[in-house]
């Protein structure tokens, strides 16, 4: 390894699959960075990718990532920016090969080296694991996985920073992984650069906190921030976050000069508490971070310093995310206008439910919301303005079988002509029937999971 750097700049370019397409390019072009980190995976994403791979063995990864890599590869090679992303989904090798195919068209000074991290995908091993007594009990309900085994669509263990470090050691310009934790993508380069030991729990916790802060992209630089939202500058072009890491574990959160948004103690704190459970035990494969030890300080314009982070030893298990077919759902909407908009929408709901009932349709749940009245805050919002200009009736249904949901989707439009008056807003057509792929969280012994790392350049 080279001499240890005093500061390593890790930029976040993507908070989820579907985030701003140009954000990673702006991170590369907007100033000096050492690493570009991009998180593409959510629980449900893996099942979509498994279906894509089943149809075509060369698919099963975040396809947007390949044209993106084509755009930034020249800078990756010329400036030594190293890319780390879990865009590989359920087929990281195919993703890496697609990137290399693109690279052949570019006139690069040398061929890029792509690190491929696998070993997280346990779909083909499920029966063996179950037979050997790994029950993969649902962490929320306590049920063993056998209850839904025949409907499973994907199963992945969450890997941590270690395979990312291995790929960087082997000289990867870009590391493409399967289900590596969001935080591991940021912690990995810190451990690699600074030579942090695998049991340096405080520093691992610091890197984990850094990863948590930037894993949702601009959500820590002013996006979705409640404090001063009216006055945030240039939100048409928000700066995505950059962590400036140091060997001792203290780091700063900042963004490129001239970009919009704001990095403040308020914006960083909001992201810290996002999706938080027990703050003393933020568990990752790499260690357990204590969020009650974090100290934040505004260290300049658009610069927040993070220090004091403490952590504890990693557990001996890994989280597993299983997805399985659950059933079907559909949501239908209609808009009722003044006067008495809410009353008209409520009458339409009563009529609709009576018709569904008469048809003998059975649903696991029928949920009615009145947008403008109670859809976001429920009854906490209190009574609506009696003179409210309009109310959207929003009815959702869920059932194990497709047929009743399909039939429901045909019962919304008739209300326009045969229900309460002053109704509109059906331009979108019949409600779409969607398959529900549900999420099954479980744990597995670390000893069962072995990450594999290879670096390919052709």
């Amino acid at each position: 390894m080279n001499e240890t750097r005093s500061v390593v700049r890790i930029a976040s370019g993507q908070g989820f699959w579907g985030d701003a397409l140009d954000a990673p390019v702006r991170q590369v072009e907007g100033g000096s960075i050492d690493y570009l980190m991009m998180d593409y995976l959510a629980e449900v994403t893996m099942s979509i990718m498994q279906k894509q791979r089943a149809r075509n063995p060369a698919m099963g990864y975040a396809r947007d990532f390949v044209p993106l890599m084509r755009r930034i590869l020249p800078a990756v090679i010329a400036d030594g920016v190293r890319v780390i992303s879990n865009a590989g989904g359920v087929n990281p090798r195919a993703c890496a090969e697609a990137i290399l195919a693109e690279a052949r068209d570019l006139e690069l000074p040398r061929r890029p080296r792509i690190g491929v991290v696998t070993g997280d995908d346990i779909l083909d091993r499920l029966d063996d694991l179950l037979a050997r007594g790994h029950l993969l009990v649902n962490l929320d309900t306590g049920e063993p996985l056998t209850a839904v085994r025949d409907r499973v669509q994907s199963a992945n263990a969450y890997l941590g920073a270690v395979p990312v470090i291995d790929a960087l050691r082997q000289g990867a310009d870009a590391v493409v992984t399967g289900r590596v934790t969001d935080t591991g993508l940021t912690l990995g380069p810190m451990m690699y650069e600074f030579g942090w030991a695998a049991d340096d729990w405080d520093r691992i916790a610091a890197g984990t906190v850094a990863g948590h802060i930037i894993e949702c992209g601009a959500q820590c630089t002013g996006g979705n921030c409640l404090v001063g939202w009216r006055d945030l500058p240039n939100m048409a072009d928000p700066g995505y976050p950059i962590v400036e890491a140091t060997p001792g574990g203290t780091f700063a959160v900042t963004k490129h000069p001239g970009t919009g948004g704001r990095v403040s103690v308020a914006s960083v704190t909001e992201q810290l508490v996002y999706e938080m459970g027990d703050p003393r035990h933020y568990i990752t494969p790499d260690g357990v971070a204590d969020f009650t030890s974090i100290a934040l300080r505004q260290a300049g314009d658009n610069r927040v310093e993070v220090s004091g982070v403490r952590g504890g030893p990693a557990t001996d298990s890994l989280k597993v995310s299983v997805s399985y077919h659950y059933g079907f759902k559909a949501v239908g909407t209609l808009v009722y206008a003044w006067p008495d908009a809410h009353a008209k929408a409520m009458m339409a709901d009563r009529i609709l439910r009576e018709r569904l009932d008469r048809l003998g349709l059975e649903f696991e749940e029928i949920l009615t919301e009145y947008v403008g009245v109670d859809a976001t805050h429920g009854r906490v919002a209190g009574d609506p303005d009696p003179d409210i200009a309009e109310v959207q009736l929003r009815v959702g249904v869920r059932a194990p079988d497709r047929a009743p949901v399909e039939r429901f989707s045909r019962e919304i439009a008739p209300l326009i002509l045969n229900g309460p008056p002053s109704v509109t807003g059906f331009a979108g057509g019949r409600p779409k029937v969607e398959e529900i792929v549900a999420y099954w969280p479980a744990l597995i012994a670390k000893s069962e999971i072995e990450a594999r790392v290879e670096v390919i350049d052709a």
């Binding site: 629980e43 449900v44 929320d140 979705n224 409640l226 404090v227 308020a266 704190t269 909001e270 992201q271 810290l272 508490v273 996002y274 999706e275 938080m276 459970g277 027990d278 703050p279 003393r280 969020f291 009650t292 030890s293 974090i294 100290a295 934040l296 004091g308 659950y326 759902k329 949501v331 749940e365 949920l367 919301e369 947008v371 859809a375 976001t376 805050h377 429920g378 009854r379 906490v380 919002a381 929003r394 959702g396 249904v397 869920r398 529900i436 792929v437 549900a438 999420y439 969280p441």
Partner: protein, 117 residues
């Protein structure tokens, strides 16, 4: 009994900001003091029981509370808040994104002398 302090009711939106998210059928709400001096008031008044009462009829499960004095924040877990959670949920707010501001509707008693902008 301590001495009686005059109090007035203030809505949380003037004392705190918040962000919320999901884990399965549980929503979390991080409630963050707008000024350091507000944290003690929040920690004293925004109890798990009061939050459960605030969301009565909206959530099906219990409420847990965690303290983060270092961030001037409280973290609440609202169980059974998301209509099954994730992809099962039929709710507009299936991911609990706006439980944050729903909590900011709550009113709490604060010392009459506490300056609130």
């Amino acid at each position: 009994m301590g001495k009686k302090v005059a109090r007035r009711m203030v809505q949380l939106r003037y004392l705190a900001h918040a962000r919320s998210g999901d884990k399965g059928d549980t929503a979390n709400v991080g409630l963050i003091a707008l000024k350091p001096e507000y944290y003690r008031v929040l920690a004293r008044e925004v109890t798990a029981a009061r939050v459960a009462a605030h969301f009565d009829g909206v959530i099906r499960g219990s409420v847990e509370r965690f303290e983060l004095p270092n961030l001037g924040a409280l973290n609440f877990l609202l169980h059974g808040a998301l209509g099954g959670g994730g992809t099962l949920s039929l709710k507009t707010d299936a991911q609990g994104k706006v439980y944050s501001t729903a909590l900011l509707r709550m009113e709490i008693p604060v010392p009459a002398g506490l300056r609130v902008d």
